[in-house]
C-alpha cells in the first residue's frame, strides 16, 4: 500500500511489526488489571491498542524522516528508510529499552484446541485466520468504498492530478502510513501469539519477505499482495517440512523474487507499466 502510493520500500515496516508485538507485550499485563486475563475481550482490546500505537508511530516516522525527502530521488528515501530501520532495531536492542534477548509473549486469549479428523488447530491459529480476514475486509472497504480510500487510489495513480483534484497529499500520505503501520502492528501481535518469543530483530526478515510478497502479487495491488503473502507463507512452510530444503527457507522468498522479476515483473495480478520516452 505504501509502495503503491510513495514508490519506495519502507524498510522500517518490519520494525513497526516488531513494535506492535512489544506493545502487546507491555499492554497485556496492564489490560489484565481491568479485564480477566486470557479473555477474548482483553485480547481484542490489546490488539486495538497496539494497532493504534503502531499507527501513531508510523505517522511520526513519515513526518520526521520521509516527508522532508518527498521531492528527493527515491534512493535517498530508501537509504533513510534503512537508517530508520537500523535506528529502531538498535535502540530496542539497547539494555535500557527492550534488550536484545527474546521475551516470552503472554497469552492473550484462552487456549483451546480443535481436532478435526487428525488436523489439530488451536485458538491462536484460528484467531490469526479470522483476524486476517476481518482486517483485510476492512481494508478493502476503506480503500474501495470510502472517500479517503478513493483519495489514496488517486494518489497512487498520479500524485499531481490528485492534488489538482483537491486531495490533501500530506494528510492522505499520513493516513496511508498510519493504516499500513496499524496493520503491521496487528501482524506483530498475531505472529507473537503463535510464535511466543519476541525480540527486537524479529521484524527484519519478515519485513523483507513482505515486500517480496507485494512484488509477487503485483506491486500496488492489494489483493495481489495478500495472495503473494499467502503463497510465500505456504511455500516456506512446505519447504520447512522437506528435509534438505528446510535449511534454505530464508532463501526461498528471495529466489521467488528473482524468478518473478525475471519472468513476470508486473507480478501475478499486476499490470505492466510502459515508460514514456
Amino acid at each position: 500500500m505504501v509502495y503503491g502510493i510513495l514508490r519506495f520500500i519502507n524498510f522500517a515496516h518490519g520494525d513497526v511489526f516488531m513494535l506492535g508485538a512489544f506493545a502487546g507485550y507491555f499492554l497485556a499485563p496492564v489490560i489484565n488489571k481491568f479485564l480477566p486475563a486470557e479473555s477474548y475481550a482483553g485480547g481484542i482490546l490489546v490488539l486495538i491498542l497496539a494497532m493504534t500505537i503502531c499507527a501513531l508511530i508510523g505517522i511520526v516516522i513519515e513526518f520526521l524522516a520521509y516527508r522532508p525527502l518527498r521531492s528527493r530521488p527515491k534512493l535517498t528515501v530508501l537509504i533513510t528508510a534503512i537508517g530508520v530501520s537500523l535506528f529502531i532495531e538498535y535502540t530496542c536492542q539497547n539494555g535500557h529499552v527492550f534488550g536484545a534477548a527474546p521475551h516470552a509473549f503472554p497469552k492473550l486469549i484462552p487456549y483451546t484446541t480443535w481436532n478435526l479428523d487428525g488436523l489439530v488447530l488451536d485458538s491462536n491459529q484460528i484467531i490469526v485466520i479470522v483476524t486476517t480476514i476481518l482486517l483485510l475486509a476492512a481494508l478493502r472497504f476503506i480503500v474501495q468504498n470510502t472517500k479517503v480510500g478513493t483519495a489514496m487510489r488517486a494518489l497512487a495513480f498520479n500524485e499531481q492530478a490528485a492534488a489538482l483534484m483537491g486531495v490533501n497529499i500530506n494528510s492522505i500520505i499520513s493516513f496511508t502510513f498510519g493504516l499500513g503501520s496499524a496493520l503491521a502492528g496487528a501482524g506483530g501481535i498475531l505472529f507473537a501469539m503463535n510464535y511466543t518469543s519476541i525480540d527486537p530483530l524479529m521484524g527484519v526478515q519478515i519485513g523483507l519477505k513482505a515486500f517480496v510478497a507485494a512484488v509477487l502479487g503485483g506491486i500496488g495491488n492489494l489483493p495481489g499482495a495478500a495472495l503473494g503473502g499467502l503463497i510465500i507463507g505456504l511455500l516456506e512452510t512446505f519447504a520447512g517440512g522437506i528435509p534438505g530444503l528446510s535449511n534454505y527457507r530464508d532463501g526461498i522468498a528471495f529466489a521467488i523474487l528473482i524468478l518473478i522479476l525475471l519472468f513476470k515483473p508486473a507480478g501475478l495480478l499486476g499490470k505492466s507499466q510502459v515508460e514514456k520516452v
Binding site: 509502495y3 514508490r7 519506495f8 520500500i9 524522516a65 522532508p68 525527502l69 528527493r72 527515491k74 534512493l75 535517498t76 528515501v77 530508501l78 537509504i79 533513510t80 534503512i82 537508517g83 530508520v84 537500523l86 535506528f87 532495531e89 538498535y90 535502540t91 539497547n94 539494555g95 527484519v204 523483507l208 515486500f211 517480496v212 512484488v215 535449511n247 534454505y248 530464508d250 532463501g251 522468498a253 528471495f254 529466489a255 523474487l257 528473482i258 522479476l261 525475471l262 515483473p265 520516452v277
Partner: protein, 309 residues
C-alpha cells in the same frame, strides 16, 4: 590528464612496500586497523563503480566479498601443507585472484537478471542475492557451514592490503576517466539517451557488476587471511549496508570522497568504542540526518584529478 596515473600507482605500491618493511615496529592493534582500512577502501571503491558511477543500487556487495573470501581461504588451507614457504606469496595471490574471479562470476549472475530493474527493485533483488549466497554458505559443510571456516593462515599484511587498495583505485578510476568509461556515467544519468548515442546499457551494467564483484572478492580474500576466521553471518545484509554507507557518505561516484569515507567509517567504531552501547544507534541516526541534510555526501568539495564528474 592521463600520464600521472600509472606513475602514481607504482609510487603508491612502492610506498606501501616501504612502510610494510617497518611494520614490525608498529603496534599490532593499529596495524590491524590499518589493514581493515585498506580492505574497506577496496570494498567501497569497487561498490562505487556499481552504485556510484553506474547508478545500479546494489545492496548485496557483502555476498561477493563472501564468495571471494571463502574461495581464497579454501585454496590456501588446502594447499598450505603442500607448497614450500618461499612460494606462499604466489599461492596467496593466486588464491586471491581465484576468489576474485569466482566473485566476478557471481557478479555476472547478479548483474544479468537485474538489468531491467530500477531503484528499489534492484536494491531488494541484490539484497536477495546476498542473502541467498549467505544461506548457501551456511549450509555448505565443506566450508564449515554455520560454525564457520577456521584456521586460515595469516597472509594478509599491510603491504598486500594497500597494494591491492591502490590497484583497485587505479583500475576503477582509469576505466571511468576514459572516453569508454563515460559510458558508465551516461547509463546512470539517462539510460535511454545513452542508448541513443550508441552506449549499450546492458554491457556497461554487467561490466560494472563483474569488475565491482571481482574486487570485492579480492577484499574478501584479504579479509579472510587477516581475521583468519570466516562466518556466513559476517557477510549479511548489515555488512552490505556498511559498505553502501561508505559510498553514500563519500558522495556516490566521487572516488576521493568514497576513499575518505571508507577510512573514516573504519576508524569511527574505534572512536565510539567508549559508547559501545550507543554506537550503532548513533550510526543509524547519522544516516538519517545525513540523508535529510546532505545527501550528496560529506566530501563533495569541487573537482579533483581523479574525479571528472
Amino acid at each position: 590528464m592521463h600520464s600521472g596515473a600509472k606513475r602514481f600507482l607504482i609510487a603508491a605500491i612502492f610506498a606501501a612496500a616501504v612502510v610494510s618493511c617497518f611494520s614490525a615496529q608498529f603496534n599490532r592493534y593499529y596495524l590491524g586497523i590499518a589493514i581493515d582500512v585498506g580492505i574497506n577502501i577496496i570494498l567501497a571503491v569497487s561498490l562505487n563503480l556499481i552504485n556510484g558511477h553506474t547508478g545500479q543500487f546494489s545492496l548485496g556487495h557483502a555476498g561477493f566479498m563472501a564468495v571471494g573470501g571463502y574461495t581464497a581461504a579454501k585454496i590456501t588451507i588446502e594447499l598450505s601443507g603442500l607448497v614450500p614457504p618461499q612460494l606462499t606469496p604466489l599461492v596467496f595471490i593466486g588464491a586471491l585472484v581465484a576468489g576474485g574471479l569466482l566473485a566476478a562470476i557471481a557478479g555476472l549472475a547478479v548483474g544479468v537478471p537485474t538489468l531491467r530493474l530500477r531503484g528499489d527493485y534492484l536494491a531488494i533483488v541484490t539484497l536477495g542475492f546476498g542473502e541467498i549466497i549467505r544461506v548457501i554458505l551456511q549450509n555448505m559443510d565443506s566450508v564449515g557451514a554455520a560454525s564457520g571456516l577456521k584456521g586460515i593462515p595469516e597472509y594478509t599484511n599491510f603491504f598486500w592490503a594497500f597494494a591491492f587498495a591502490t590497484i583497485t583505485v587505479y583500475v576503477v578510476t582509469s576505466i571511468v576517466n576514459s572516453t569508454y568509461g563515460r559510458g558508465f556515467i551516461a547509463v546512470h544519468d539517462d539510460e535511454i539517451a545513452a542508448g541513443a548515442v550508441g552506449i549499450n546499457p546492458v554491457r556497461y551494467k554487467v561490466t560494472a557488476f563483474v569488475i565491482g564483484a571481482f574486487f570485492a572478492g579480492i577484499a574478501g580474500g584479504l579479509y579472510a587471511h587477516h581475521k583468519q576466521f570466516l562466518s556466513p553471518t559476517g557477510f549479511d545484509f548489515l555488512k552490505s549496508i556498511d559498505i553502501v554507507m561508505m559510498v553514500i557518505l563519500g558522495g556516490m561516484g566521487r572516488t576521493v570522497g568514497v576513499i575518505i569515507a571508507a577510512i573514516l567509517l573504519t576508524l569511527l567504531p574505534e572512536f565510539l568504542r567508549g559508547f559501545a552501547e550507543y554506537r550503532m544507534i548513533i550510526y543509524a541516526l547519522l544516516v538519517i540526518v545525513l540523508m535529510i541534510t546532505r545527501p550528496q555526501g560529506l566530501f563533495t568539495f569541487g573537482k579533483s584529478k581523479w574525479t571528472k564528474t
